[in-house]
Structures are given as structure tokens and as C-alpha cells.
């Protein structure tokens, strides 16, 4: 058995009456890469935000349970949040450089924790930029604004900035979803390198990324913990049907359809209105299947539904004339 780094016990989070995480209990192993997988909206980011208490920034949220890191409960009032956050680096979805120079970005963390000596800062900056493979690319322009870097470089800078406060754990929330394939690969390689010294938790809805990186996998679905275990077991031999379906990418067609509406024979603005009405009668998270035969509707209905904030789970042709659109109700 490996050591546990983060122990989550009976974690519940509710946003304004929306139960986003339901009684989650799971242990995250030390010095391994743990991937949290699941479709968007299932509570992955919420789980990360609980670990570093950024959840405090949200209004109207209630949470309960325990998250134990190094014998300290993150939710305990007596716990020093600053200390916890220092221990948990964060790599966000969107590369977010601070509005200052490349050097200042990396030096920001050490500075706010009281490091003043220029020599020490210089050394930290160089070391962290080198770990993320950025040193050679930026060493001649350390004082130019970080926003001038390419998106991929910005994300590596963010990683370097996180490393500069010497965390034990790195939380990554879909860290490559805004990047091009080459930059994504760069980040993935770095995470693999960092794994021997850090505990890494990566949220991803890219199943292939999870397979490439993860030692341990946690599968969430609509706020529930479906399955967790060593990556090999979960990917090759999932215990749960829903995990198998998700991994095979067939999740959506196996979904329980809550309502089916036949819109054949309707033309465009109307089938959209009818679809909206049908969706209106469903409660949040329920799934609606539409059958349409207007070619325009095949693109316009899903587009409109996404614009309304719903999730389009699949669009496929079922016979010569008809298409099937599966939508999950969100807001």
C-alpha cells in the first residue's frame, strides 16, 4: 500500500441548493498522479477548490466533511489556510499570468512569504523556470510582461510560479484544455517528471490524458463518486458499468433517457421551441432525446441548446432521414 497524502471523508458541497458533491470519501496517494475524471459539471473543480479552500471565495455555498492533509483538517477553523494553500500549488484551466513581468511572476510566491534576498529569489526563479523547461526560452527577457508569452509558455510559467512556493501537492484543473497539442504534451511531460517529488491531482475530461498520466483514478458523475482505484484496474477492468461506459466513450448512448420527443415533420424555429418546452418540463440533470428530420435542425437545435447552457451529449444519424439529438438539462 502507498501512503495517503490527502484523505477526503464524507465531503458534501451544496451551491445554493444544488448538491454538487455528494458524500465523497476517497484517499489520494502520495507522490503519484491522481486523475479525477468525469463529464463537465460533475463536481471535479469543486473538489479541488475544497482542498485548497478556494471554495471560500464563492457566495452561498455550504460544505461539510473532512479533508485531512498531513494530519490537519482543511475545514477546521483552527487550521491556517495560508499554510494549507502554500502546500497545495494550483495550475488553473486558463493560463493566468499575474499582471507583472516573467521574473516577478515566479518571484511572487517567495516574496509574499517573506523572501527578500535578491540572490535567493534569482536562484529560485532560475530553478523553477528550468524545471518547466522555460529558462532557455525566456532567460533574456525576464523583465518583459508575462502576458507577452505564448499561451503554452504562460501555462508553463504558471506551473513554475506554483513550484516556487515549494508545495507538496500540485492541483491541476484541466491544465491543457486551453492549449494546443504541442503545449499540452509539454505540460504532460513535465507533470510526469514532477511526479517523483510531488503529489499531483489532475482534473481532466480527456480520458486519454488520464490514461497517459494517472497512477490512480477517481471517477465522478453528477456529484457522486462512481469508482476509484489504481489506474490499471480502473481502465482495464472497471467495476462499475458507468465507468466502463465513460471510458469507452459510449456513456451517452447508454444513458437513461428520461424523455423522448419526436419532432419529425417540424421545420426549424418550431422544433427548437418545442425542444425547449420539452426540456422545460424536465428537472435538472435529466436527459431528453429528440428525433428530428429537418437538416437545419441537426446543427441549429444543438447549437441553441448549448447557448442556453444545456449539455448536448450526442448527435447522430439513425437512418436515412432522421437524426437523434440527446440533451442533458443544466440550468
Amino acid at each position: 500500500m502507498t501512503e495517503t497524502q490527502i484523505s477526503i471523508q464524507n465531503l458534501n458541497v451544496t451551491y445554493n441548493g444544488n448538491h454538487a458533491l455528494k458524500n465523497i470519501s476517497v484517499e489520494i496517494p502520495k507522490k503519484q498522479i491522481t486523475a479525477i475524471i468525469g463529464p463537465s459539471g460533475c463536481g471535479k473543480s469543486t473538489m479541488l477548490k475544497c482542498m485548497n479552500r478556494l471554495i471560500d471565495m464563492t457566495d452561498n455555498v455550504t460544505f461539510s466533511g473532512k479533508i485531512i492533509i498531513d494530519n490537519e483538517d482543511v475545514f477546521d477553523k483552527k487550521t491556517d489556510i495560508i499554510n494549507i494553500r502554500k502546500k497545495l500549488g494550483l495550475l488553473a484551466q486558463k493560463p493566468t499570468p499575474l499582471p507583472m513581468s516573467i521574473y516577478e511572476n515566479v518571484a511572487f510566491g517567495p516574496r509574499i512569504h517573506g523572501v527578500k534576498k535578491k540572490l535567493v529569489l534569482d536562484e529560485t526563479v532560475q530553478k523553477c523556470l528550468a524545471i518547466t523547461g522555460l529558462w532557455e526560452e525566456v532567460k533574456d527577457r525576464l523583465n518583459s510582461p508575462a502576458s507577452q508569452l505564448s499561451i503554452g509558455q504562460q501555462q508553463r510559467l504558471c506551473l513554475a510560479r506554483g513550484l516556487a512556493v515549494e508545495p507538496e501537492i500540485i492541483l491541476c484543473d484541466e491544465p491543457t484544455s486551453a492549449l494546443d497539442p504541442v503545449s499540452s504534451q509539454h505540460i504532460e511531460q513535465q507533470l510526469l517528471k514532477l511526479r517523483k517529488d510531488y503529489t499531483i491531482v489532475i482534473v481532466t475530461h480527456n480520458i486519454h490524458q488520464a490514461m497517459r498520466l494517472a497512477d490512480y483514478v477517481i471517477h465522478l458523475y453528477l456529484g457522486e463518486l462512481v469508482e476509484h482505484g489504481p489506474a490499471n484496474d480502473v481502465f482495464e477492468n472497471p467495476k462499475e458499468e458507468r465507468t466502463r461506459a465513460y471510458i469507452n466513450g459510449t456513456m451517452f448512448s447508454d444513458l437513461k433517457i428520461d424523455k423522448e420527443v419526436d419532432l419529425k415533420g417540424n421545420i426549424c424555429p418550431y422544433n427548437f421551441v418545442l425542444a425547449k418546452q420539452a426540456l422545460h418540463e424536465l428537472s435538472k440533470g435529466k436527459v431528453l432525446k429528440l428525433v428530428v428530420d429537418d437538416p437545419l435542425a441537426v446543427t441549429e437545435v444543438p447549437r441553441g441548446m448549448e447557448a442556453d447552457g444545456h449539455k448536448v451529449m450526442s448527435v447522430k444519424q439513425i437512418n436515412k432521414t432522421d437524426w437523434e439529438v440527446v440533451i442533458q438539462k443544466k440550468e
Partner: protein, 297 residues
């Protein structure tokens, strides 16, 4: 169908006409002032007008220097007083205050902007001037003319500038994204460190715009200043001295000594200078704010 289209065409034309009219008005005002000011620009060298300290219209001496300095002293003092107070209160309102408190206070701040300036002037005469005369000046060992001074003007003006700086600064600070704050907090920064090093840094262009807007408001303000600043045409050397800012000069003397040669022209030149300075400040500030809104800065 046709009347609907007609209405559409008409209303858009009408709006265009109104916009063009507003621009033309500004243009004609500036052009008119320039035209009427040109006699003095032709006869007296511009450097004399701007830098000569001699103001004796009867002998044809039109040195605006004392008035320009008076304006600058009062405006700069007002801005210097207003900056810390309004920055701190807008930081409090946008970062620390609860939503309820903010929603209650912001309309009051806007209300402050709507109070007629003569009321501020009265407040200055009744409260600020006596306070300076009886308490502040004696305590500092300074002489004033009954308390009427640059300091009185600066204090009154700064109160008039608060609402502009508070509301514009608050707006740009609330525009700083949550992600950026999260980055700083996740590195272990405290809330105050995050505000000081990240939020204020990101909002800096907007804060500068807010200050420029406040400055131009103070620069052009007439009534309240005129009532408390003493109106003595001398280059001031301390904040306890009286001063005679340009707007006060215009308001006090235009239409009175028009028989004097070039007097009319000189006063209109002062008006032109005021118009241009305020216009330029406003344009700069608006450009910065629009760029922030579009996400360029």
C-alpha cells in the same frame, strides 16, 4: 410594414443627427472661443500670456501665470487629498464590504456627485473656512486671510471629487477576474496581499483614469472654489495663501470690464484653456477605460 420601416429609418437618422449636433456644438464652442480669443493671441506673445505674472488689464498686461498657478495649486491639492481617501473607501467597498452594504452605499456615493456645487461652496464657507481660520492655521502657525485659502478650496474640491474616483475605481476593481485572485490566494497570499499586489496592479490603468477624471472635474469647477479660495491674483507660495483660479476669474469678471481693450479676448482665452485641458483629460481617461472594458489593458 412601410410605416414601420419609415419609423426605423427616421429614428436612426434622428439619433445620428442628435449625435452630430452634440459634436458640432463642442466644435463650435471651441472654434468660437478661439476666434474671440485670437485678438489677444495676435497682440501678446503666448509665452507672456502663460508665464507673465503681471495682471493689469488697464495697462494691457495680461499675465495668466497667477491664475494658472492658482488653478494648479487648488486642483493638485484637491486630487492629493482625494486619492488616498477615495482609494481606501473604494477598496473597502468593492473588496471587503458585504453586497448589502455596497448596494446601500454606492447610490449614496452617486448622490454626492449630484449635489449642486454651490451647496458645497456654502459648506466650505460655513465649515471649512472657519475651521482653517480658527483651528488649523493657528495650530500650524500660518497666516490666512480669514481662512479663505487654497487649502479651503482643496478640501471642498476633494469632497466633490470623491464620488467620481470611488465609483470608477470600484468598477475597475470589480472587473479584475476571480481567476487572477485565485492564483494569488492559491500561492498563499493573504487577502490584503492579493489586493495590494494583484488587484490594484491589474486595476492600475483604470485607477489612473479615475484620478484623471477627478482631476479634470476639480480643474474646471467654479462655484464652490470661488466661494472659499479668496480670489487674490497673486502667485501662491503656500496652501494657506489665497489664490485666484481661472474659472473663478471668468465667472467673477466676464461682462464687467468689457470696455477695456482686449479684456474680453483675454477672458475667452482663459475659457479656451480650461475647455481644452478638461477635454483632453476626459478623452485620455475615457480611452483608458474603454480599453479596459474591451480587455486590451
Amino acid at each position: 410594414m412601410n410605416t414601420r420601416r419609415l419609423k426605423d429609418v427616421l429614428s436612426s437618422r434622428l439619433m445620428l443627427a442628435a449625435t452630430v449636433f452634440a459634436f458640432l456644438l463642442l466644435f463650435f464652442m471651441a472654434a468660437g472661443l478661439f476666434f474671440r480669443a485670437s485678438p489677444i493671441l495676435i497682440t501678446v506673445p503666448i509665452s507672456d500670456l502663460l508665464f507673465s505674472i503681471e495682471w493689469s488689464p488697464f495697462s494691457g498686461k495680461f499675465g495668466f501665470y497667477p491664475f494658472i498657478m492658482g488653478t494648479l495649486w487648488v486642483t493638485v491639492l484637491a486630487t492629493v487629498i482625494a486619492i488616498p481617501v477615495s482609494l481606501l473607501s473604494s477598496i473597502y467597498l468593492s473588496e471587503y464590504a458585504s453586497n448589502g452594504l455596497r448596494e446601500m452605499v454606492m447610490p449614496l456615493v452617486d448622490l454626492l456627485a449630484g449635489i449642486p456645487s454651490v451647496v458645497y461652496g456654502l459648506f466650505g464657507v460655513l465649515a471649512v473656512v472657519p475651521f482653517i481660520n480658527d483651528t488649523l492655521a493657528p495650530a500650524m502657525g500660518a497666516e490666512t486671510i480669514g481662512g479663505y485659502s487654497i487649502l479651503a478650496g482643496g478640501i471642498v474640491l476633494s469632497i466633490m471629487v470623491f464620488p467620481i474616483i470611488i465609483s470608477v475605481t470600484g468598477e475597475v476593481m470589480r472587473r479584475v477576474s476571480g481567476e487572477l485572485r485565485e492564483v494569488s490566494l492559491s500561492l498563499g497570499a493573504t487577502k490584503w496581499q492579493t489586493i495590494k499586489h494583484v488587484v490594484l496592479r491589474k486595476a492600475r490603468p483604470g485607477i489612473i483614469a479615475a484620478i484623471v477624471l477627478g482631476f479634470s472635474r476639480a480643474f474646471g469647477e467654479t462655484m464652490a472654489v470661488l466661494m472659499v479660495v479668496g480670489n487674490v491674483a497673486k502667485v501662491p507660495s503656500s496652501i494657506f495663501d489665497p489664490a485666484y483660479p481661472l474659472p473663478a476669474l471668468i465667472a467673477n469678471t466676464y461682462g464687467e470690464m468689457m470696455s477695456i481693450d482686449l479684456y474680453d479676448s483675454a477672458i475667452l482665452l482663459a475659457a479656451l484653456i480650461l475647455l481644452l485641458v478638461v477635454l483632453i483629460c476626459n478623452v485620455i481617461a475615457r480611452i483608458i477605460l474603454v480599453r479596459i472594458e474591451r480587455g486590451i489593458i
